[in-house]
């Protein structure tokens, strides 16, 4: 079964502290993995995808196939990073790729 696990519902850190948002997946084959973010009262938006290997807003994520994980990391959290973060691998179904969302982690960055 296709499953995504985000074990933390809430992660609270102080500004300047490192952040790691955990994501584990169960998926056969070589997964593509995305992180989506939803800031307060805004729409879901793509933060980054592992295949691009980019760093967006200081966030990075490394796919670890051995641990089946795709944790999101940032060395120094900022208050504006406070948001809901979703790990979401796409799964191919015919011509389209549905996203399977994790339960999400609310990141709260304290001043």
């Amino acid at each position: 079964a296709q499953r995504v696990t985000q074990p933390e519902k809430l992660l609270s850190v102080f500004k300047g502290a490192p952040v790691e948002l955990k994501c584990n997946y169960s998926y056969s084959g070589s997964p593509e993995l995305f992180w989506y973010v939803q800031y307060s009262r805004q729409r879901l938006q793509l933060l980054l995808r592992h295949i691009s290997r980019e760093s967006i807003k200081g966030f990075t994520a490394d796919l670890n196939k051995g641990e089946t994980s795709f944790h999101l990391k940032k060395p120094f959290a900022q208050e504006e990073d406070s948001a809901m973060y979703y790990c979401a691998p796409p799964f191919y179904g015919g011509a389209t790729n549905k996203l399977i969302f994790g339960t999400g982690t609310l990141l709260a960055v304290q001043p």
């Binding site: 805004q42 729409r43 879901l44 938006q45 793509l46 995808r49 979703y86 979401a88 179904g93 015919g94 011509a95 389209t96 790729n97 549905k98 996203l99 399977i100 969302f101 994790g102 339960t103 999400g104």
Partner: protein, 111 residues
């Protein structure tokens, strides 16, 4: 930058009534999706649509649900006879083969 829009932002209806949720996609993006999020739960895939037909649908997407692009532009989700458990946030997404862009959502409340 063009964005996906959805109308209405909030819909209140009586149980058993039909509702139509509308999505205005980004032009030239040919892949369409509907997702929903029941309060306190994760975002769930409902259906994907490409080339004027359903590509994939979830178990949630039963005979009470339908989708179409009636004018070749707007993308609609119809629920024929709403149930209390249909109360949720409904997100439209539109994109190319790699990325999905989400609308702001329609909050459906069934009384």
């Amino acid at each position: 930058e063009p964005e996906v829009t959805q109308t209405p932002s909030h819909q209140v209806t009586q149980m058993g009534q039909e509702v139509i949720l509308r999505c205005v996609p980004i032009s030239n993006h040919l892949y369409f999706y509907w997702y929903r999020q029941i309060l306190g739960q994760k975002v769930e895939f409902l259906v994907s649509f490409y080339n004027n037909e359903i590509s994939e649908k979830s178990e949630i997407f039963d005979d009470q649900f339908s989708v179409e692009r009636p004018d070749g532009s707007n993308f609609t989700l119809k629920i024929r006879s709403t149930k209390l458990e249909d109360s949720a946030m409904y997100f439209c997404a539109n994109g190319d083969t790699d990325t999905q862009y989400f609308g702001p959502g329609t909050r459906l409340t069934v009384l």
